[in-house]
């Protein structure tokens, strides 16, 4: 079989390996493999449980606030503590600002170059030169907005800094709440920036996304995947414990279900780990076996009730009822920009709910032995941290990231992971310039820096096997 290798895939956060078998201009099979071992879960063992919040952030430079949030939720779950109302709102504001940054950068930096021809200089050259459907004027207009998005996404990060001290790897989200009390000074700065970011999303980003969607309407159908959606719930409600502004839930083949937080397990048949039956993350093992026959990934295969799940903005909006039930590449891209609009609007309301002079942090005592789980939504989907501590030391830590779900290999039953499945059936016009593969894969907003927990999927490489 003639083999063509394309590597690396750029414009995702991280590296992975995608082998696609192509027959008659169509992908007939795909294998997604994380090929990087970083070992963060092993690094966490033996450390002070409170350090996890700052260390796990460092898994990912683009969604660090999500890891901080998950780690904090896990500690709070373990210690049965509840941050004060202000603390929850501020954490929502920090995470919301980071989410806006992520969605804006994902759309312009990572997605747009797949569909729109850029200026004639690096880093926009070299590049593929196929299937650009927008006019020269429209393209240059979109790249003008691309350049403006650099300022806007920076401003979004400035919002994180107002309450989070710095970013990436903020200090303001931690077990027990937040650390910056609201006052007139930081609130006015925050309000001013959120308005600017919201205006950009409403007037530029949504229009650009819709222009692309119109010109590439075939991508509404391409890359539909397994048609299973899941959300852990995003933005805790400050007044209703356990409730979220974006509610948790599951849709399996179009049928809505309540989320069962205990129904998650990880399969390792095709991953480089010692074989084991599907294990819950509380028990998950991470014993590497780099020479295991048949395995092709450092990413485990997380499954919900044995099924691969798709997650992210599309899943959240469909479950919330803000987007019609739909599956496909362009739906993912549109849902991402619509969600940015929604979140920016909500954030404006939340800022006004802050209570001046009320606490943001609840001090706590740490017992000797405890365990907990933090299940939250990261920008790109469901993120879970599970840990156990003995003698005030971490004795077990498992992280399942949204990209592990998205980029997972086959499971013990041989069912493909979500991106693998979405790629099957994707047309590839030009063997030498397979732009379609990146379009489908990037719509999941994969963040391979996150994809493997104890491990990390890096190597950012795509092999395309082209056969007849």
């Amino acid at each position: 079989m003639p083999v063509k290798i394309i590597s690396p895939i750029t414009r995702i956060n991280g590296f992975w390996r995608l082998d696609a078998k192509i027959e008659n201009h169509r992908i007939v099979d795909a294998f997604s493999g994380g090929i990087f071992f970083r070992g963060l879960e092993k690094i966490l063992l033996g450390r002070d449980p409170r350090d996890a919040v700052y260390l796990t952030e460092r898994i990912c430079g683009i969604c660090s606030t999500a890891h901080a949030l998950a780690s904090s939720h896990a500690m709070e779950d373990a210690l049965r503590i509840m941050p004060p109302r202000n603390g929850i709102i501020i954490r929502n504001l920090i995470f919301g600002a980071d989410l806006l940054q992520n969605h804006i950068r994902h759309f312009y930096f990572l997605t747009v170059p797949d569909y729109v021809k850029g200026p004639d200089r690096p880093p926009f050259t070299p590049g593929y030169n196929v299937d650009f459907r927008l006019s020269k004027d429209t393209s240059s207009q979109i790249y003008e907005n691309y350049m403006e998005s650099i300022h806007i996404s920076r401003a979004a990060h400035d919002m994180v800094t107002i309450f989070g001290a710095k970013i990436p790897h903020n200090h303001g989200i931690l077990p027990g709440g937040a650390s910056v009390p609201p006052d007139g000074d930081n609130v006015r700065m925050f309000l001013s920036i959120i308005k600017r970011v919201k205006d950009f999303i409403n007037s530029k980003m949504i229009r650009d996304a819709e222009l692309i969607a119109e010109a590439y309407s075939d991508y509404f159908e391409i890359g539909a995947g397994h048609r299973n959606l899941m959300s852990f719930g995003m933005f805790s409600h400050p007044d209703k414990s356990g409730e979220f502004y974006f509610r948790p839930g599951v849709m399996i083949g179009g049928r809505p279900e309540e989320l069962d937080r205990k129904a998650i397990s990880e399969h390792v048949k095709y991953s480089w780990y010692d074989d084991a039956p599907p294990l819950a993350p509380e028990e998950g093992l991470t014993e590497p076996d780099a020479k295991k026959p048949g395995a092709y990934s450092w990413v485990k295969a997380p499954r919900y009730k044995g099924l691969p799940m798709e997650m992210g903005p599309l899943a959240r909006l469909v479950i919330r009822g803000d987007y019609p039930e739909a599956y496909g590449t362009m739906h993912r891209i549109l849902a991402r920009v619509y969600e940015a609009k929604k979140v920016a609007e909500l954030m404006e309301e939340w800022v006004m709910e802050l209570e001046i002079g009320k606490p943001v942090f609840a001090p706590y005592e740490m017992p000797s032995d405890f365990e907990g789980a933090g299940m939250v939504e990261a920008m790109r989907g469901c993120l879970g941290h599970w840990f156990r501590a003995n003698g005030r030391r971490i004795s077990h830590y498992q992280i399942i990231t949204p990209s592990a779900w998205a980029c997972s290999p086959r499971d013990n039953n041989g069912i493909r992971g979500p991106i693998e499945e979405a790629l099957v059936g994707t047309p590839v016009e030009d063997f030498d310039q397979p732009v379609e593969v990146g379009r489908v894969a990037r719509s999941f907003d994969p963040c391979l820096a996150c994809a493997v927990h104890a491990i990390d999927a890096r190597g950012m490489q795509k092999d395309i096997y082209i056969g007849t």
Partner: protein, 447 residues
Amino acid sequence: MLTRREFLKLCLSSAALSLSGILLPKVAEALGDRGEKATVIWLELMTCTGDFMSFANTLSPDVEQLIRDTIKLEYQNTLMTAEGETALKHLYETASKQEGKYILVVEGTVPTKDNGIYGKIGYFEDGRPVTDLDAVKYFGTRAKYVIAIGTCASFGGPYAASPNPSGSLPVDKILKDVQVINTPGCPCHPDWFVGTLSHAILYGVPELDAFGRPIMFYRHSIHDFCPKRQHFENSIFAKFPGDYGCLFEIGCKGPVTFVDCPTRMWNSAHINWPVKANTHCIGCVSPEFPDGMSPFFAHLPDVDLPGINASSSLVGKVAVGGALMGVAGHAAVSLLKGRIQNHLVNGSQTRHVDEKTLSMLQEEEKTTAEALKASGAASIKDAAGKSKESADDSGVKAHYGEKSRKRPDSGKRMDADASDELSPREVSVVKPKKIRIIKKISSKEKD
């Protein structure tokens, strides 16, 4: 165009202005004279991409201006349009066309275990992988300058933390014969990087400290310029994050961390920084981060705390003394820093001080000892700590010389065995005004 002196002055007066805002147009101007933009190749290795995301936060110029007016960013994994073969081919072509002229920026640590198979930047057409290790060696030896951005590339960082599962090393451990400019930080502040890049383009390698960090940014301890310093002096200590007062007791590593966060603040818009946000510094620019800086939430342990106090005020004295003696203050600071940390942070290890630097440091030690004498302190040793370790310490060599020493394992990390000190609420010893904290008995000494 700016003179070198003016440039440094600008860098040092960071808080008042956006460094990059003033600098970069000047850099563009300088380059305009020569009619070419600097070629930059940016390799992402084992990284979280946080340093690139931080770089994207540079204020003025923003990334748009940079890539339009100042640099030719020929290879950057997260931003570039090209992928696959096209990208890799372009990378090698650029490097050979611009050999000896391009600036290499390395982000992330370099996995070396099993010949580096744990990290790859891509694959050749014939299926051969390009490991991170290969890439650093190949592009590092052909570059005009090599800048390591972030703590991972500079010192190893979180992924090289104990037990270092991928056998990762910092860039300057791989490129032993190449001058590597380290701009650590987790992530690196946009100004630290853009300022260093600008200095390299305009004037060449900036003045570096013993850890390869430009002293224009990594010179003074956080503690020296901390806005809550007076709280420390007055023994007003926060009891938990978000509380009012100095963050020392909840684990601030400011006294042993050398960078300009207090005056520069984050991000490029200079809005906030961990201590202003009522959380503590975790020492992310330090060579020992994170092992030697954790537990993050335990205050600097296992030490004679008068030693710390001595150290924080002594640093100032040494710097002044050093300057008086015509000794570069930063070297004294670094020296003292290394020594202090050796006492403070059980198991910290300095990973990349070569023989030449070592002898320079020993020379500096003598000179600073004299400086100290002149400024009233008895000796560095007296001041830097009266702990048992210090008596055994035969000098700088004992610290810098043990290259083969293993990284601390989890059991030897800054020990929290006396875990009663761990909970912020439980730390409630009332301090006398001039901090004189009762020496805590370390687990070692108990034995």
